[in-house]
């Protein structure tokens, strides 16, 4: 049951991101709800849940929009798992901590993406990317985390209820 809930949620969030995303863009920058959801869920749940959700999210994005499959799978997977491992001994209901995690995750994701897809192709100039893409998205993601945190919290509560044990 828990798996079905999370798989359905990730599909819905992916579709929201890809269809409604372009209506909330500011100066060509779209917030990454998928990354925010992955990080929030991994922060509240276990490392394994973060890893599984990250892999599903990355696979979805790679399947639909990637030139090849693997880049987002790797980055989302690592981000989900690492967030889960780092937040093991932390208090799980603090929104400020999740904002901190999403900031770090966005920086890591974008730098990783730059290294895998741009730097290895021979384009070494990163300054333009940092100012035009990475920093604005980091700020935007941190803002978007506030609603996403509560969605992730609600889902976390549903998956921990008695209903889950019955089915």
């Amino acid at each position: 049951m828990r798996y079905i809930i999370y798989f359905a949620a990730s599909l819905i969030i992916f579709m929201l991101q890809s269809t409604f995303g372009r209506y909330v863009e500011i100066a060509g920058i779209v917030p990454n709800i998928m990354l925010a959801f992955t990080v929030c869920t991994a922060y509240m749940g276990s490392a394994e849940r973060g890893l599984a959700l990250g892999i599903v999210m990355g696979l979805l994005q790679d399947c639909f929009f990637g030139y090849y499959i693997g880049c987002n799978l790797f980055l989302y997977g690592i981000i989900g798992y690492t967030t889960g491992v780092l937040s093991q001994n932390l208090y799980k209901d603090n929104i400020a901590t999740s904002v901190l995690f999403i900031t770090a995750a966005t920086l890591f994701y974008n730098l990783g993406f730059f290294v895998i897809n741009i730097l290895l192709k021979g384009h070494t100039d990163i300054s333009g990317y940092i100012y035009m893409k990475i920093l604005p998205e980091t700020v935007y993601n941190a803002i978007v985390t506030l609603p996403v945190f509560y969605i992730a919290k609600a889902l976390n509560n549903i998956s921990e209820t008695k209903l889950n044990r019955i089915i």
Partner: protein, 284 residues
């Protein structure tokens, strides 16, 4: 715990690399992708429809005066466009006569197009890939050119049954063979991330007579894109600091931030090229 972390990261890297190697330059989407796309494309189309309905609902209450002004403006534009069409018809007739005299194959033939709706866009901010709501069910194929009324948008990278993945010309993974209308100098257009949503054109040294304001169109040497589709206008010329190569910053004709409907040119890539060579062979 630490060993376990290392193990999982390494396993993830190996799996990703395997997937990348397997899927790199695939011609057809894998069955899993096709199935996923088959399910999600209608839902994405529906959500875009809902947004459109909401937009038209608010538009209903918009200022009447604004609409009237727009009506007048459009009437004027229609008149100008009609005059232009008449003029172009005359030129086309004249051109046909001259062509008949010269007995040359008309390489700028009409394109047959299919309209399609944009239903989803790449979640990330890096690349510019989007999905349209028609696929092999409408006869679309890989490498067909995609454009709007304003200019070139990109080409189809993958076709599913009821969706197609379009890679745009402002995407870093693709390049378009292009030429300047004024000077006929050939080059190629790729993405440029240093400025907002723009492309750049690199060209050979002898073609450095391109100036700001020149129109750039698709070139006749491309086998994917039909010749003569507008790509954009040269905004300014710059020089690469490291390689000291000149390149032109290009403002694309198509508005990539407001892509709703696109036109797909349903002509098989390379088809005209083959036909033209056999024709000329026969003529000899």
């Amino acid at each position: 715990m630490k060993n376990r972390y290392k193990f999982i990261v390494i396993a993830l890297a190996v799996v990703s690399l395997g997937c990348a190697g397997f899927s790199y330059k695939r011609n057809m989407p894998t069955p899993v992708e096709t199935a996923l796309g088959y399910v999600t494309a209608p839902i994405q189309g529906l959500s875009v429809k809902i947004i459109d309905k909401l937009g038209s609902f608010t538009g209903y209450f918009r200022d009447k005066g604004e609409l009237n002004a727009e009506k007048e403006r459009l009437k004027e534009e229609l008149l100008i466009a009609r005059a232009e069409i008449n003029r172009l018809k005359l030129i086309e007739d004249e051109n046909a006569q001259l062509d008949a005299l010269l007995k040359i194959q008309n390489s700028y033939s009409d394109y047959s197009t299919i309209g399609a709706k944009v239903i989803a866009k790449d979640p990330g901010n890096w690349f510019s890939t989007f999905i349209i709501d028609k696929g092999t069910n409408y006869g679309l194929k890989k490498n067909m050119a995609v454009m709007t009324a304003d200019g070139l948008v990109g080409k189809i990278r993958e076709c599913g049954y009821n969706y197609s993945k379009v890679v745009s010309i402002i995407d870093d993974t693709d390049a378009v063979s292009a030429q300047s209308v004024r000077t006929n100098s050939i080059g190629y257009v790729t993405a440029d991330f240093s400025e907002e949503a723009q492309c750049k054109m690199r060209y050979s040294e002898n073609a450095s007579d391109i100036l700001a304001g020149d129109e750039i169109v698709t070139s006749h040497i491309s086998e994917i894109y039909p010749p003569g589709i507008s790509i954009g206008h040269v905004k300014r010329l710059t020089t690469d600091d490291k390689t000291s190569m000149k390149y032109a910053i290009i403002e694309p004709s198509a508005d990539f931030s407001k892509l709703d409907y696109v036109l797909v040119i349903t002509k098989e890539p390379g088809y005209e090229f083959i036909e033209a060579t056999t024709e000329s062979g026969e003529n000899k």
